[in-house]
Amino acid sequence: MGTKQSLEFNGMGTTIKVEVITDKISIDWKTMMRTWFATFESICSRFQRDSELARLNQSPSWMIVPIHPILYDVLQAAFQYAAKTDFYFNPFVGSILKNMGYERPFQKQQPLFLEYKENKKGGCSVPSRKSISFFPNQKAVMKHTDEEIDLGGIGKGWSVDQAHRLLKGIGIEQGMIDAGGDMVIWGGAPRKIGIMNPFAEDEDIANFIIGAGAVATSNVLYRSWSVRGRRFHHIIHGQTGKNPESDVVQTTVFASCASEADVIAKILCMMSAKEGIRWLNRHFPKAACIIVNESGQLLITPSVSRYVERLVV
């Protein structure tokens, strides 16, 4: 039985918390975690002008662009999920988010600076489905569109999955990584996790006991803003390029990895709660969810019991 060690730091616009149980005191896992998340952010952030992603977004289309292997891998994962979700999840929504005024990390936004820019067609563009080609041998890509890429719907989850792999790789068999609510728990020791109440953030709407699995929560209330009387939020329907209309306020998804939970949580905010449950059963039957709708109802899939030992509401 090892000892519990923990680390908390700011990164990727949120608080990152890592807890491990290990007896290997000599391993400097804390430096490893700080370095990993800082590296990931410096490569994949849409908001850092010198990031690899910003460079790719600025590069011309129809040209082969060699990119950092980390960006290559996360882009590839993103497009696999795009295909698997019929492009409900679509990474080519960066330009649309920019046009809606989401150009800087949300915490740094001042509502006065937010400006909605209509595009030339007078509305939101529809992101393309065939917008990128991959060249695995060169770790390079070719864009077929000038629309920008945003990894907001998968980046945190993917970085948590990689951090989990890194820790397991150095022999840490039990722990938890939490990057702003995108979590991986492993090793089997039961942990209590709360689900934030979307209507009262200082309360939990439910809590559960979990020993292993990945969890992610998405919410249309927090990262939302008004521009000239129009309300926007950060979730873009990948097929329409618009903010979806739905009765869903918040979704918490349980899956085998955080990337998957992250992507599904966003998609379940794009349709009505009941449609979302059916969609989940069809596309990701092994995943589970807890949805909060605008009436304050909770909709829970029975498959939640695959991940959770006890649920308190």
Binding site: T14, K17, K156, M176, D178, A179, G180, G181, D182, M183, R191, K192, I193, G194, I195, M196, N197, P198, A200, E201, D202, E203, D204, I205, A206, N207, V215, A216, T217, S218, N219, L221, Y222, R223, Q250, T252, D262, K274, I277, R278, N281, S295, G296, Q297, L298, L299, I300, T301, P302, S303, V304, S305, R306, V308, E309, R310, L311, V312, V313
Partner: protein
């Protein structure tokens, strides 16, 4: 006379063989029919099994329902707040909007 005797034997044996083959044919087609008939039963049993698993999943979840009206269906458990919902104190670890 000798030839006639052999012809009778051959005809007799042939008849018996044909009859046996016919019976086997009937028997196997009955078995096929039974197999076909048993398919819906197998599907129904499989469905029942799925239902049982679902029920077990629900039962295995150690619920604490508090102030909610709970409706169960195969696909979803719907909890409707009975009145003003009293939230839970925040846990040390929380999943929240990201």
């Amino acid at each position: 006379m000798k030839t006639n005797k052999w012809v009778k034997w051959v005809a007799g044996l042939g008849g018996v063989t044909l009859f046996t083959a016919f019976l086997q044919l009937v028997d196997s087609s009955e078995m096929d029919q039974q197999k076909t008939n048993s398919s819906p039963t197998a599907t129904a049993e499989k469905n029942n099994e799925t239902m049982r698993q679902r029920e077990q999943e629900l039962m295995s979840l150690d619920w604490n329902e508090g102030n909610w009206d709970v409706q169960y269906s195969n696909e979803v458990i719907t909890l409707t707040p009975k009145g003003q919902s009293s939230g839970l104190p925040p846990s040390e670890n929380r999943t929240r909007r990201s």
